[in-house]
Amino acid sequence: MTIPGFILRNAFRNKRRLILTILSVALSLFLFTTLRTALDLMTDPPTTDTAALRLAVRHKVSLANVLPEKYQYRIERVPGVAVCSKFTWFGGIYQDISKSNFAQFGVDADRILKIFSEMAVPPEQERAFIQERTACLVGYKLMERFGWKLGDRITLQGTAWGCDLDLTIRAAYRGQGIDETLVFFHHEYFNEAMNNLGLVGTFWLKTENAEVIPSVIAEIDKAFANSDAETKTETERAFQLEFVSMMGNVRLFLGSILVAIVFAMLLVTASTMSMAIRERSREISILKAIGFDSRQIFGLILAEAFGLAMAGGALGCFGAKFFFSHLDIYKMSQGFIPMFPISTETIALGLLVAGLLGVVSSLVPAYSTLKTTVVAGLKELD
């Protein structure tokens, strides 16, 4: 027998309690990992090197306000701007509203793939998309969801805008780090359908390099200062975070749940360790009597609690990773959540939380045991 073997024997002495405790910690860590990932996706969306060069230009007041189409000409002339596209959210209904939880945007067809170069489209499909005024470019996940094929015709009924769009699918994209559930169509076609209204939701642009970003932002906003529609230019990341902020203080809400989970986990582990140590207080006194000192006893208790918490933590964290990697989250959420990647950082954080909780939960029962003298411990439960 070895000391680790002795710790294992102690841990396994009440198998039902051990399993229930590990499962409760695992479930807590599963929730922790899931919520943490949700929080990450909302507040720290996946990004790419190319995304760092993208800027969004919107109305200074809010995203709900629109900009004049003619701004594009001025924006394109700002030094450092490589390419710029209109980018207007359509918000149409496909068949019925329950199926329409995917976003559609009117864009400059010949430019959008230069700005979002992570979107991979076969060259012949790209040409077909650019050449046909009513063509649309669709993400692969959306194609799979509705069973669409190239050449299929779809109709989007306008809600926010007073027109319907009849579109033909001419291209499909896959994208590393890009939502594959979007539909892009010609802004020109949309504008015609709107009787040449000449309005744009946002402009998206790509800069020549990262160094020019501050000056480009300043220049664009300066160009439209004191106009009827002042602009706010921001990086893609800032734009996404601002978009999330429209949902309210989700971070605080999810953060509160995370804290509650961690606290519940602490109580469960502490309660288990207290019970386990209390029913063993006499044995611990025996260990002291035969020569184990306080440091060694503390080590035994700590190792058991730590091991238990880490076993549950590993089960919960890696279980979540396995679960979400084998689950078609896009289909299951009816297209609401395109992807749900559990990051290595989140797993590491989950395991760290589990380990810390194991240590913290053992401190109080370990301390109370250590301060009990051998004689007092032997008298207990006599």
Binding site: M1, T2, I3, F6, R9, N10, F12, R13, R282, E283, I286, L287, K288, A289, I290, G291, F292, D293, S294, R295, Q296, T373, V374, V375, L378, D382
Partner: protein, 228 residues
């Protein structure tokens, strides 16, 4: 002398009330002796045993075991000292229920620098000595009370301690098992020269010892049953 006790006093405080468990006791125990400590409940015999064994501390006075005053040792030093010098046998056996007889006996050796092979030799020898060579893989619940106590004696022996302390070792045993355990302790004393200090209520158990020391109200009685 192996054990030299001088003016040993132990006071317990219960709020404002002080109880004298041991009152200026002086006592010598030679190496190789088998001593029985007898006395009524509350006489202080277990307290005396605990102080000699280094699991309790005196309020005043000295308790030297092999010329070391155990009262002067720190908690960590005491733990190490107990591992090397004291073997415990308790009334309620106090074996670890999830460990086999073999593993229970091996437990004190985990704190030593012995190799796994050396540990196995020591453990097997100790269990053979107490007549449980064929019960090594049994859990405590699979053993009788007498067998459990013999495992506890093997555990007390396995580190080859300076002295073995036994606190009512037959208190939870039937008459037959008690005889076996006491006979075993006597054999260890006579044949292996082990110094044994045993607390007991039972005059029959005390008869197995070479010397009986009587305590009453925290003081030693002389051979006539009188306070010195």
């Amino acid at each position: 002398m192996l054990v030299q006790i001088r003016e040993l006093t132990k006071l317990y405080s219960h709020g404002e009330i002080q109880v004298t468990a041991l009152d200026r006791i002086s006592l010598d125990i030679a190496g190789g002796e088998f001593v029985a400590l007898m006395g009524p409940s509350g006489s202080g015999k277990s307290t005396l045993l605990h102080i000699i064994a280094g699991i309790d501390r005196p309020t005043s006075g000295d308790c030297h075991v092999r010329d070391i005053n155990v009262a002067d040792l720190t908690e960590t030093q005491l733990a190490e000292w107990r591992n090397h010098h004291v073997g415990f046998v308790f009334q309620t056996f106090n074996l670890i229920p999830v460990l086999t007889a073999y593993e229970n006996v091996e437990l004190p050796l985990l704190l030593t620098s012995l190799t796994g092979r050396e540990r196995r030799q020591h453990v097997e020898a100790a269990l053979e000595l107490v007549g449980l060579g064929d019960r090594m893989r049994h859990l405590p619940r699979q053993l009788s009370g007498g067998q459990e106590q013999r495992v506890a004696i093997a555990r007390a022996l396995v580190t080859d301690p300076t002295l073995i302390v036994a606190d009512e070792p037959t208190g939870n045993l039937d008459a037959h098992s008690a005889q076996e355990v006491l006979g075993l302790l006597q054999t260890l004393n006579r044949q292996a020269g082990k110094t044994i200090i045993m607390v007991t209520h039972d005059p029959k158990a005390a008869a197995f010892a070479q010397r009986t020391i009587h305590l009453e109200k925290g003081q030693l009685l002389n051979g006539n049953g009188q306070h010195p």
